[in-house]
């Protein structure tokens, strides 16, 4: 998170240090973050571990997550299969590890896509105002008139199953948030004197937006993106559970839980417990990390985003 800006806002004490490099500045920022909010730092580590798990899934998973093993069907946790096996003998631990890939890819993709589109839209609305703004606000209101899970379900069903469609479906539900927040930020920025000065000097619309308004939107954008990761993960899991997420055999936490209901009259406890714990831990980590980032970047936004 190194926003390269001229060093005009450094506190007095650090002027003695000869021109710190961006790396050193980032490290110092990190140190302050850890000291100020050790809890967030702890959960940041958990989040980092989960991201690592997703990247290194092939190395970490003890078994192939999609290979059926008909000698070990629906077996409870044992030394061979720590988290047990499902009804066609696939190793639950490996599936949980691989499930993090789907979950994180969808959440990150959806939040980046949705928040970015919303932010650009909000930037345009806030900057130009007028009829375009009024019209856009109506459309955003229409989008916000759906509970987000229902809109995501409808879009995912209409477009057909697949990772891309799930990302798009969740991204659409994130657009209004980005739009509203960034629009409000831009509207308040527009009144500031340095922006007016730039306008007075004859800066073009593009230059105004890119040089003077956009940099101020970075912090709210990052905060929005991180705080919505958790919601995106839960929606992805719910879509998978309802059968409109990423289709099997790709393991996701949501479709693992859905599968466990098909395993017989009574779902085996290990097929229910572990994917759910994975969802909860991941959402918890990203939510608390998001709170920490929000407090570090802009304490005024507490409760606003």
């Amino acid at each position: 998170m190194s926003v390269t800006q001229p060093d005009t806002t450094l506190p007095l004490g650090s002027i003695a240090v000869a021109q710190p490099s961006w790396l050193r500045r980032a490290l110092r920022g990190l140190r302050t973050f850890v000291r100020r909010s050790p809890m967030s730092a702890f959960w940041a580590c958990i989040a980092a571990a989960i991201i690592f798990m997703a990247i290194a899934a092939p190395a970490l998973a003890p078994n192939n997550p999609v290979r059926a093993d008909f000698r070990h069907m629906t077996k409870p946790p044992s030394e061979l299969h720590w988290f047990g096996t499902d009804q066609i003998g696939r190793d639950t631990l490996s599936r949980v590890i691989y499930g993090s890939r789907a979950s994180l890819t969808v959440a990150a993709g959806a939040v980046l896509l949705g928040t970015t589109l919303g932010a650009i839209w909000g930037l345009a609305c806030g900057y130009f105002g007028g009829r375009f703004d009024i019209f856009s606000q109506r459309i955003i209101e229409f989008l916000q008139s759906f509970p987000d899970l229902i809109l995501a379900m409808a879009i995912a069903m209409a477009l057909g199953a697949g990772m891309g469609t799930v990302i798009v479906a969740i991204a659409v539900t994130r657009i209004p948030f980005g739009g509203r927040v960034i629009r409000a930020v831009v509207q308040s920025l527009k009144e500031l004197s340095y922006v007016e000065a730039a306008r007075g000097l004859g800066a073009s619309h593009m230059r105004m937006m890119a040089r003077h308004i956009l940099p101020q939107c970075i912090a709210p954008y990052l905060i929005l993106a991180t705080t919505h990761l958790g919601v995106a993960i839960i929606i992805e899991a719910a879509l998978g559970f309802l059968g409109v997420g990423i289709p099997p055999p790709t393991p996701t936490w949501g479709n693992m839980l859905a599968d466990s209901l098909n395993a017989g009259l009574v779902p085996p406890w290990w097929l229910v417990l572990f994917p759910g714990v994975a969802i909860t831990l991941t959402v918890l980590a990203f939510n608390l990390l998001g709170d920490g980032i929000r407090d570090a970047l802009d304490p005024r936004l507490r409760g606003a985003v």
Binding site: R138, I139, E141, F142, L143, S145, F146, P147, D148, L149, I150, L151, M153, A154, I155, M157, A158, L159, G160, G230, I234, A237, A238, F241, L242, G243, V244, L257, S260, L261, V266, P267, W269, V272, L273, P275, G276, I279, T280, L281, V283, L284, N287, L288, G303
Partner: protein, 318 residues
């Protein structure tokens, strides 16, 4: 106040029309060919051109989109809502049969969320940063992260293994058999209620902490009033305003949340019907249910706005 009400309702009407266009666009225009949505890509390729044409004509899908849209609106206004592609029951009948159960779940969950959330918030706010505060804050953060449908599955499992109990699966109206009805409703209501309670506790805590600093609270204390009375009669009523707004908005999200939760419990409510419609790719049922849910959502938002304007005169004059 009246001009505010009229304005709010007029905006609501515009929103409902806009929402119907969004629903139609998403479910009927986006898939390209509606038959692809109904039969799935593989099933669609197996159909012969004559079959496709006959299905299209039978379902009224060969008309221009505008005509289809207007016919759908006509269906809604006449109250029939069309038929499921797979079942004989009309969508209106299905809503009438299953809707009450989901409404009951939603209402009960709101009551539960207040019963749990407000006391927790009071405990937290009275002694900020005490053990009780930290425990309840952690619990609310935890319940924000637990997916409701997973909690539902866990509850079903624990009841089944611990007590050998399973809630009845048949849909029973409250007035024919209250006990059986409650057994169906309580599980989903608890799960959804706890999820909302987490939000409510968080909001009520921060709102109470702000209100406690106000002058009138200090005055009430200064005149020697018992601390409990100060909290109960001076601080709490003022702190609850944002909580009421939040609770109304949450109720809308509960309707969506009840879809996976009803699926996990096997509750025969409207949420389960939505799940069935999605898994059968029943575009027509889905279209009507999504529209119904969003109308309820819009109505809830209007009610919340009007209620907070009524409770807080400052909002009306903005």
């Amino acid at each position: 106040m009246y001009s505010y009400i009229v304005r709010r309702i007029a905006f609501g009407a515009v929103t409902v029309v806009g929402v119907s266009i969004v629903v139609f666009f998403v479910l009927r225009v986006l898939p390209g060919d509606p038959l692809v949505a109904i039969f799935g890509p593989e099933g669609f390729t197996k159909l012969s051109p004559e079959q496709r044409a006959s299905y299209m004509a039978q379902l009224g899908l060969s008309d221009p989109l505008v005509v289809q849209y207007l016919r759908w609106i006509g269906d809604i206004l006449s109250g029939s809502l069309g038929h499921s592609f797979f079942r004989s029951e009309s969508v209106a009948e299905m809503i009438a049969r299953r809707g009450p159960l989901t409404a009951e779940i939603a209402a009960l969950s709101v009551v539960l969320s207040w019963l749990v959330g407000i006391p927790v918030a009071i405990i937290s706010a009275l002694r900020p940063n005490s053990i009780g505060d930290n425990v309840s804050r952690f619990l609310s953060i935890l319940f924000l992260a637990i997916p409701g449908f997973w909690l539902a599955m866990l509850i079903v499992l624990v009841l089944l293994f611990g007590l050998g109990y399973r809630a009845p699966l048949a849909n029973v109206a409250f007035f024919t058999d209250p006990l059986a009805n409650l057994q169906i409703v309580v599980g989903p209501a608890i799960v959804l209620g706890l999820g909302q309670a987490a939000y409510i506790a968080r909001m009520a805590r921060s709102s109470l902490l702000e209100v406690v600093r106000e002058d009138y609270v200090r005055t009430a204390r200064a005149k020697g009033l018992n601390n409990r009375l100060v909290i109960a009669f001076h601080a709490l009523p003022n702190a609850l305003l944002p909580v009421i707004t939040l609770s109304g908005i949450l109720l809308g999200f509960v309707l969506a949340g009840s879809i996976p939760v009803e699926r996990a419990f096997g509750t025969p409510g409207l949420g389960y019907a939505m799940y069935t419609a999605v898994s059968e790719r029943d575009v027509f049922v889905m279209q009507n249910l999504v529209f119904l849910y969003s109308i309820v959502f819009v109505l809830l938002n209007i009610t919340v706005d009007l209620a907070s304007a009524w409770l807080d005169p400052r909002i009306r004059y903005r």
